[in-house]
């Protein structure tokens, strides 16, 4: 699972007010190289929750993203390369996503998070 997917998922357990961002417990992280697409990155940037992305990247061991980002940075090739790597090339392969309010763990196996809720959580 890419961190871009992490950036759009939230915990939807009954009673939870703010299920975003899910915390990441990383047991295994893999890198898969994909083509660099600056237009895509410029386009997706305003839709990203930056703080959540930085935290997620650090949780999987990548510390190259700045704490804060503004659109002016999109002119920097370095910045775009780091963003590309964090959003699209790092995959959480094994581990868990954890609801920030309840601590409920959603396991991630073979890169697939299991977001199914139990009956009493719906």
């Amino acid at each position: 699972m890419r961190l871009l997917t992490h950036n759009m998922l939230s915990s939807n357990i009954k009673g939870v007010n703010n299920g975003f961002p899910l915390l990441i417990e990383a047991e295994k992280v893999v890198e898969k190289l994909v083509d660099f697409n600056p237009d895509f990155l410029r386009n997706i940037f305003p839709k990203i929750d930056w703080k959540a992305l930085v935290a997620a990247a650090r949780a999987v061991g990548y510390g190259e993203l700045p704490d804060a980002a503004d659109p002016a940075m999109l002119d920097s090739d370095d910045f775009l390369r780091h963003l590309h790597h964090a959003l699209l090339q790092l995959h959480l392969e094994e581990g868990a996503l954890v609801c920030p309010e309840t601590g409920r763990r959603f396991p991630v196996n073979k890169g697939i998070p299991n977001m199914l809720l139990h009956e009493d959580e719906v």
Binding site: M8, N12, K32, F40
Partner: protein, 310 residues
């Protein structure tokens, strides 16, 4: 299915009572039509190689990597082994579409007696020659129905709702989607979807979830593609999916629904689900007929909805 002998009376006019069965063949991008006599061929393989020779001059550049028409060659082998494509869940036969994705640049389709465009290779050869009115060689991407999609896929974030084996989402990835997320409740389907993605050397994320209970953050998804369950267990499940899709997508929703519910789908999408527009995509053959029981096909429509920006 036991007897494949063409019915003499019904098809008399199509066959002209002679030993020949000439039909027209067209190919996308070719400037003229050809005719072939189906009676001179004894199998799909023979027809395939004959058409390949006939139209090879229009496929220069593709031939080396993707031999034209090898696709339905492979489907035909499936057929002869008796392993008819088994529909997954109550949706379309995913394996047929996976064949399309794995296959060549072109696929062979035909117009049957009822005027429906069908993918060649699903029925025994004799049954095929008995109902084929004409042939068309079309681009695989057109056959899937997602080409010419108004820029809804290229460089976009695409979610495949109820992705099953991943077919539609992977098709989107092949057509240039930058990030694809397949959402599916069934873990076995997801395993197959992962394998399919690896086979096609495509990057796609998969999430196991119930579409109706997934939490989303932000307007990241541009386009939703889906072949939703039509609800043999729960009626109207496809409409529940559509409701969520129109909330999540910012640009477009491509969705398959039963033709019999056409009016209902359109009315509900526009009135209750805040769709700005709902249009049918007519330009594809009946690849999406799904088999509820043997012999029973159900016609479905491919829709393109545009969500209203709030």
């Amino acid at each position: 299915m036991a007897s494949n002998t063409p019915k003499t009376d019904d098809d008399a006019d199509a066959k002209l009572g002679s030993g020949c069965l000439y039909i027209k063949v067209s190919m996308e991008g070719a400037p003229y039509l050809r005719k072939v006599d189906l009676k001179t061929y004894g199998s799909y393989a023979e027809l395939s190689s004959a058409l390949e020779k006939m139209f090879s001059c229009f496929t220069i550049g593709n031939v080396s990597t993707n031999p034209i028409l090898n696709l339905f060659g492979s489907r035909m082998i499936d057929w002869q082994c008796g392993s008819n494509a088994v529909p997954s869940r109550d949706g379309l036969s995913e394996s047929r579409l996976m064949d399309l994705l794995h296959g060549a640049e072109y696929v062979l389709t035909y117009e049957d007696k009822d005027g429906d465009w069908m993918l060649v290779g699903d029925v025994p050869w004799e049954m095929f020659t008995g109902s084929c009115k004409r042939l068309r060689i079309m681009k695989s991407s057109d056959a899937i129905g997602l080409e010419n999609s108004f820029g809804d896929l290229t460089d976009k974030v695409v979610a495949d709702f109820g992705c099953g084996c991943g077919t539609l989402g992977l098709a989107a990835a092949l057509l240039g989607a930058e990030h694809v997320v397949g959402l599916e409740i069934d873990s076995q389907s997801l395993e197959i979807a992962s394998i399919n993605a690896d086979d096609l050397e495509l990057d796609a994320d998969f999430v196991q979830c119930d579409i109706m209970n997934l939490g989303w953050r932000g307007p990241i998804v541009d386009t939703v593609v889906m072949n939703p369950p039509f609800g043999t267990r729960k009626k109207g499940a496809d409409m529940d999916f559509l409701s969520v899709a129109l909330k999540i997508a910012s640009q477009a929703v491509y969705s398959l629904h039963k033709t019999t519910t056409r009016d209902h789908v359109k009315r509900t999408a526009l009135r209750d689900y805040n769709a700005k527009s709902a249009e049918l995509r007519y330009d594809l053959p009946q690849l999406y007929k799904f088999h509820k029981k043997k012999e029973v096909d159900i016609a479905v429509d491919l829709w393109r909805f545009v969500p209203r920006k709030i």
